[in-house]
């Protein structure tokens, strides 16, 4: 017999977990709404082909999706439990919102991907997508929204910037054909540290330090200048990528949020085409996102610039200290007897108190030190100090509670 009836990798959320979740969600929603974003939800099931084309999910990530033939899937074409939210939001935009000049959307929803053992297979994402706004305004706006969420939660995160264009430029310089480049890049995205073996010797003389540099991490503009001096002479196409990063890094530094530059920090999703950012609290990555200008045309729309980010809910929730119940204090109402008239009195009072905005707990067990015994003959209100007050009508009880300033 297994330990639990739940499938491996699936999590129950207990009241404390849900409370932490709601705190994050609330900070996220407040920030997004404040920057003019509107909430959407996409379906749990999507068509698999939305995720299979090159430029969307890497093959290793695709090996972890939950795909199956639906009840009407006799053609053999599969559906998938949403493994990612950005691609479905892009589909939603292409199908429903493409006539709008731009779309600022956010969502709170789960994604499902297989993981080994009991590692979580269902993750929640708070994500925002900005479709139709170009570099660098959109990128900076998203970084600042994400930053605001953490400030609202009481954290000061560290910003790290990268751009997959740097890695792509290096692979291109090493002479990889398009298909090979995609294959090496797929492996890199999935964290295969051996993927770059063989790249070094294919790089032309004078560009040997490139691989070392892109695996380093440095401070904003200074590190970018060094990176530019090493890479740009042999790989001019990388220069413009570095310049883009430098613009964003410059603005962030000017507003007092200087970023780190981590060129190799691109993982898991291959649709990013421009600047990518990550937010860290200590060593824990709590948010990530970036520019994906090619994705909308991959999914069938016209070429439209876009970028987005998502919070990493599970690690972030683990950083929050549980505060106990956020529910307001409640008055307990017990019934004097088990007959219909006494019980009727309990619920008549409960409804009146709820109408007056007072929280109630009905039943013998409760969390309130103040409580009311209700019967067909009247009510007994016991205060926290043990003093009891006899009242005859529902209105009197509501008034007494209001006078005592309860709640």
């Amino acid at each position: 017999m297994e330990d639990s009836m739940r499938p491996p990798g699936m999590r129950d959320m207990l009241p404390d977990d849900v409370e932490r979740f709601r705190i994050i969600e609330s900070a996220f929603r407040t920030a997004c709404l404040g920057w003019g974003y509107r909430e959407v939800r996409t379906p749990t099931l999507e068509r698999l082909h939305l995720f299979t084309a090159a430029g969307t999910l890497s093959p290793q990530m695709l090996d972890r999706v939950y795909s199956f033939l639906d009840w009407d899937g006799w053609s053999g074409e599969r559906v998938v439990l949403r493994p990612d939210s950005t691609i479905p939001v892009v589909r939603l935009y292409v199908e429903k919102l493409k006539d709008a000049p731009s779309a600022k959307l956010f969502y709170v929803q789960n994604v499902l991907r297989f993981a080994q053992g009991d590692e979580s297979r269902e993750d929640w994402q708070c994500g925002a997508e900005l479709i139709g706004d170009t570099y660098p305004l959109g990128d900076l706006e998203l970084i600042l929204i994400a930053y605001e969420v953490f400030e609202r939660l009481g954290f000061t995160p560290e910003i790290k910037l990268s751009d997959p264009g740097i890695l792509r430029g290096v692979l291109s310089k090493a002479g990889y054909a398009q298909a090979e480049r995609l294959s090496v890049y797929d492996r890199l995205l999935d964290g295969d540290s051996n993927a770059l073996s063989g790249v070094q010797e294919r790089l032309p003389t004078g560009t040997g330090a490139a691989l070392q540099m892109i695996s380093m991490e440095g401070d904003g503009s200074a590190f970018l200048s060094n990176l530019r001096s090493v890479l740009a002479s042999g790989m001019p196409e990388v220069a413009s990528v570095i310049d883009e990063l430098a613009t964003i890094a410059g603005v962030l530094t000017d507003i007092g949020k200087p970023p780190k530059i981590a060129p190799a920090l691109v993982r898991n999703f291959e649709y990013y085409t421009g600047p990518v950012f990550h937010l860290f609290i200590g060593d824990i990555k709590v948010a990530g996102g970036g520019r994906y200008d090619a994705l909308i045309s991959e999914v069938g729309g016209s070429p439209v610039p876009a970028s987005g980010f998502a919070l990493e809910m599970e690690p972030l929730a683990s950083l929050l200290v549980p505060t106990g119940s956020t529910a307001r204090p409640a008055i307990r109402i017990a019934s004097a007897g088990n007959n219909g008239t006494d019980i009727g009195a309990v619920f008549a009072l409960a409804r009146a108190l709820r109408t007056a905005g007072v929280n109630v707990v009905v039943g013998e067990s409760g969390i309130s030190a103040r409580w009311i015994m209700a019967s067909s003959e009247g009510f007994s209100l016991t205060e926290e100090n043990g003093k009891a007050l006899r009242l005859t009508s529902v209105e009197e009880v509501v008034q007494a509670v209001a006078d005592a300033g309860h709640d």
């Binding site: 299979t52 695709l62 009840w71 074409e77 298909a179 090979e180």
Partner: protein, 472 residues
């Protein structure tokens, strides 16, 4: 006791020879044998069971058997989808060699890159998990994998753009009018073991003699998958067809269908009791005929590849249980090839109905019911609708009579006379349905002109044939 799973089918002769050389002769095992449970002569510590090759990795991974012999291709088919299954390939036995290929329709997909031209790639294979991996790795933007019971090589070009098939050589593929595109791996027969059994149980008295008697080689290749194909503009041009396409079955239904066709006055050259030709000549203008596995027909009707098919009601129901809104529908009962699909248990189980059996198993505290079936979706539907508690459906490819009671509690099995059940100490305790051979078609396809006439003439003739056979 060491439990050893041995293959039925083509490998039997070579495996029997190897076992004899290793001093492990198995009574009654060899070419043409049909017994499922066999004893190793002079070896009371070894018990063997004969399975269809495809079922052996599943049985070894489940831990029902400690050792097994099968083509490594079936192990890869399972492990590519379930990489953590506890099965260990121990020894390449060096025979049963072939390779698994991705092959395309000649003149349509002659190179791997041709697949990226297609708006949606149709892939047919008996290896659906490997086919899915192939498609994902090649980054095909849109594809659908048709999991077939056999005859995948006959699908291109009409019914598939690409097939994943075993072949001993590239030339054999070309002879069959399909073009080798990519070799996935070389395959041969292997000795495989359950990983847990290897760590807990002394299997050396079987493994060691096989190692010394074997013609071991360096082992098969790892599964190779293609890299991403370059994206090419898609060419969604639909081919307009002006003929009626009819699918007729191979295998055990072939005899019944040939009789029904004869009784209808229809003779398709090269279709009968002998060797299977995939494209018999119909002799009727505007009618194309293809011979494929009956299990695969409902899907091909639903997707519109065929207009009519002659198959068993069992195959249609299996498809309809999986896809309740499928447009594949029964048009005519040919009143032939009748059998019962039944729930079958061991004769020794003191129960005569399913309810009695369930009560008994519950009283025994059986935590999980093992249901073996050649029609796994039907079995799953049955288990759900009869309110089984926790259960697992074990899909099997054949040789089903030997599963109960050791490897399954319940078998969903076809029976004609009940004689085979009795011979195998089994009994039926519930009837799922009666199956006969029938004509199926697409519920919503409206045909006009010549195609309508061809279909009407065929159905009328087959109705005569059904009347002649009479109600079963």
């Amino acid at each position: 006791m060491i439990k050893f799973a041995l293959p039925a089918g083509d490998l039997r002769g070579r495996v029997a020879e190897l076992l004899n050389r290793a001093g492990l002769p198995i009574e009654g095992y060899g070419e043409g044998s049909r017994t499922y449970r066999l004893a190793a002569r002079g070896r009371g510590d070894v018990t063997t069971r004969v399975f269809r090759e495809k079922d052996i990795p599943v049985q070894v991974a489940l831990g029902n058997y400690d050792l097994g012999v099968c083509s490594i291709s079936w192990v890869k088919e399972m492990s590519v989808r379930f990489p953590r299954q506890p099965i260990v390939p121990l020894l390449d036995l060096g025979f049963g060699r072939s390779s698994l290929w991705a092959a395309g329709a000649q003149g349509h997909c002659d190179q791997l890159d041709d697949l990226s031209r297609l708006a949606a790639v149709r892939i047919a294979s008996e290896y659906p998990n490997i086919a899915e991996s192939f498609a994902r790795s090649a980054r095909l933007a849109r594809y659908r994998v048709q999991s077939v019971w056999g005859a995948a090589e006959a699908y291109p070009p009409e019914d598939a753009d690409c097939v994943i098939v075993p072949a001993a050589g590239e030339d054999l593929l070309r002879e069959g009018r399909i073009q080798p595109l990519f070799k996935l791996f070389d395959s041969s027969a292997w000795l495989v073991a359950n990983a847990l059994a290897l760590t807990k149980k002394d299997l050396s008295s079987v493994v060691a003699p096989l190692l010394s008697a074997g013609t071991a080689t360096n082992g098969g290749d790892d599964l190779r998958l293609p890299g991403p194909l370059a994206r090419c503009p898609s060419d969604p041009t639909a081919i307009r067809r002006d003929t009626v396409r009819l699918a007729i079955p191979d295998g055990h239904q072939q005899r019944h269908v040939a009789e029904a066709l004869r009784a209808a006055g229809l003779t398709f050259n090269e279709y009968g009791d002998g060797e299977t030709f995939r494209r018999p000549v119909s002799g009727i203008e505007g009618l194309d005929v293809k011979v494929i596995r009956p299990h695969d027909m409902p899907q091909l009707i639903a997707t519109g590849e065929f207009d009519l098919a002659i198959t068993g009601r069992d195959c249609l129901l299996e498809h309809r249980y999986a896809f309740p809104s499928s447009p594949a529908t029964e048009l005519l009962d040919l009143q032939r090839g009748q059998y019962n699909l039944s729930a079958v248990v061991s004769e020794d189980l003191p129960a005569n109905t399913l309810d009695e059996a369930l009560t008994l198993w519950r009283a025994e505290g059986k935590a999980i019911l093992r249901v073996a079936a050649e029609f796994p979706v039907t079995a799953d539907h049955y288990a759900r609708s009869r309110h089984f508690w926790r259960y697992q459906v074990i899909p099997i490819a054949g040789a089903s009579e030997g599963f109960v009671p050791e490897d399954a509690d319940l078998l969903i099995e076809g029976t004609e006379t009940g004689k085979t059940l009795m011979e195998n100490n089994l009994k039926a305790i519930d009837l799922l349905y009666r199956s006969t051979t029938c004509v199926i078609g697409h519920r919503d396809h409206e045909l006009n002109g010549r195609r309508r006439r061809v279909v009407d003439d065929l159905i009328n003739a087959l109705e005569e044939s059904a009347r002649a056979a009479g109600p079963v």
